[in-house]
């Protein structure tokens, strides 16, 4: 609270002189508003309202003059402090010393730069947050994200069985592999593969193989427990996948894709 009156004063009184008009001066000011060259006499003048420094030849070097309480015969103007003076030698220069900063110029310059910098920094913070909010707004909404994850109960899948889950409109194959299948997948030489990838790169837990059930050739859904390599077989164009879902024979160029998934505890799998 204590700051605001001072702030207001500083904001409005900085460069202009708000002298306290005397009642008589104000009265004359308004009464003579149609009279362009009226004269205002205010007496006695306050000590701060008048004062002139003169050169040795008598011309004025500088003079303190306030538009509220002018001295002498001066043309009155409401919104200007310029004064017409019938003098060929002198110029009235208002004294600004009262309104100059008392601090050293270098200090005030540094201070001004600091203020500019602070404003810039805060604006940067605001801008960054606004942009982030707009971008977050463009990402998927919470209800879409809630549907984007599927939870699978792994206890219901016996060893050596396939399960097909629908996830984001695509089938996902989950196979509970047996020990012999795991060792078979690991025994395969990488040099035999069209798209070399070791089995450990394709699974998070060796007994659970999770893949997108979309043939990498033209997008058919392969059939489980079929084909020459004991894995999957695509009936459309005859692509054979092994027990790790890697392409072994047929037109498909790549291994079956692995979706993002996470194990939650021992018997729960979250796809997405």
């Amino acid at each position: 609270m204590a700051v605001s009156p001072r702030l207001a004063t500083a904001a409005f009184n900085r460069t202009f002189i708000n002298a306290p008009y005397t009642a008589a001066a104000i009265k004359q000011l308004f009464e003579s508003s149609s009279n362009l060259r009226s004269t205002i006499h205010v007496s006695p003048n306050p000590s701060w309202a008048v004062g002139a420094k003169r050169r040795s030849d008598g011309s004025i070097l500088s003079k303190t003059i306030l538009n509220a309480a002018p001295t002498g015969n001066i043309q009155k103007r409401l919104s200007s402090s310029s004064a017409a003076v019938d003098s060929s030698k002198s110029t009235i220069v208002p004294d600004f010393s009262k309104y100059r900063k008392s601090s050293e110029p270098n200090t005030s310059r540094a201070f001004a730069y600091l203020m500019v910098g602070t404003t810039g920094a805060l604006t940067a913070v605001g801008a960054k947050n606004s942009i982030t909010d707009f971008l977050v707004n463009m990402s998927a909404s919470a209800d879409v994200l809630a549907l984007a994850k599927v939870e699978v109960d792994l206890t219901k899948i016996p060893e050596g069985k396939n399960v097909v889950i629908k996830w984001r409109g695509k089938p996902v194959f989950i196979r509970h592999r047996t020990e012999s299948e795991i060792s078979e997948a690991n025994a395969t030489q990488l040099s035999e593969l069209r798209d070399p990838q070791s089995d450990s790169d394709r699974v998070k837990k060796p007994e659970w193989l999770v893949m997108l059930g979309v043939c990498t050739h033209l997008g058919c859904v392969p059939i489980g427990e079929a084909g020459d390599y004991g894995g999957w077989y695509c009936p459309c164009h005859g692509s054979h996948y092994d027990i790790s879902g890697r392409i072994r024979k047929g037109p498909a160029p790549l291994n079956l894709e692995i979706p993002q998934y996470e194990f939650e505890g021992e018997d729960s799998l979250i796809i997405g």
């Binding site: 220069v93 805060l122 913070v125 549907l147």
Partner: protein, 276 residues
């Protein structure tokens, strides 16, 4: 040039005109006036735990309020816009909500044979409605439709205060007020006759946290729950707003200073004429 006198007169005239217009608007156009018979009794302002710019919801109250909704209100009122997942991290843990959702059967499908099938609820499912459609709801409630409660706090004048007043405001109809068969007198309801019977009675349910289940306690809790349902973003919104106002206030003060610094040299310029 306009003289200062006539300028002042104009200012005074304009100000008085604005004042008269404002007062006139307040007394003759403004809809705040007590017409109890038509618009219901104006609810008093209650000191909600989430009242004010710095207050979040009382989440323990939301949890109790959900229990009241589930055990009492949900027999007739749907809550279509709230999904199970919305409760997670607000009033219940994920495991609790999963268990609650699994108790409800949802129709899903079609499966491989093209048939729809029933499955237990998941977090992404929405709160099950009590009636399959509006006609069934009206048929079960003597022609009256129990409104969906998702946005009820926003949808009624007086908001949470109104809801609390309605739930606790049932009383005998005063002398001279005729209430038809099947309607109930409630001074806070516009018109005074409401189709919903009083639903909350002391000790009707048993709170899991041991709070005594008085009528007003249940009304307060369920209203807090519904206020959350109408504004799930409430807590985050207030926090963000407070932060934004602080930063923007500082920026405003800095801009004023910068403007003045820029203008200082311009404003202190003087033009001097020298006659020669």
């Amino acid at each position: 040039m306009t003289s200062p006198n006539s300028y002042n007169t104009k200012v005074v005239l304009a100000t008085s005109l604005a004042a008269v217009t404002g007062i006139g608007f307040y007394f003759f156009v403004n809809p705040i006036h007590a017409n109890e018979a038509e618009e219901g009794l104006h609810p008093p302002a209650y000191p909600w735990s989430h009242k004010g710019p710095f207050s979040t919801f009382d989440h323990a109250s939301i949890r109790r309020g959900y229990q009241v909704y589930r055990e009492v209100c949900s027999a007739c009122h749907s809550l279509d816009r709230i999904a199970w997942r919305n409760l997670v991290g607000v009033s219940h843990t994920a495991d609790e909500v999963k268990a609650m959702a699994e108790e409800v059967e949802y129709t899903d499908g079609p499966n491989d044979e093209g048939e729809n099938f029933q499955r237990p609820g998941k977090l992404s499912d929405y709160m099950p409605p009590p009636y399959p459609n509006e006609e069934a709801a009206r048929a079960s409630n003597a022609g009256a439709l129990p409104p969906d409660l998702s946005l009820i706090v926003k949808a009624r004048h007086g908001g949470a205060d109104y809801l609390f007043s309605i739930l606790t405001g049932y009383m005998e109809a005063p002398a001279g007020v005729e209430i038809r068969e099947g309607l109930y007198y409630n001074p806070y309801f516009p018109g005074g006759a409401i189709s919903m019977a009083r639903a909350l009675f002391d000790g009707l349910i048993e709170y899991e946290d041991g709070t005594p289940a008085t009528t007003s306690q249940m009304a307060k809790d369920v209203t807090t729950f519904l206020a959350w349902a109408a504004e799930p973003e409430h807590d985050e919104r207030k926090k963000m707003g407070v932060k934004a106002i602080i930063v923007i206030s500082i920026l405003t003060a800095l801009s004023v200073w910068l403007k003045r610094a820029r203008f200082a040299s311009l404003k202190s310029r003087k033009i001097v004429y020298v006659f020669n």
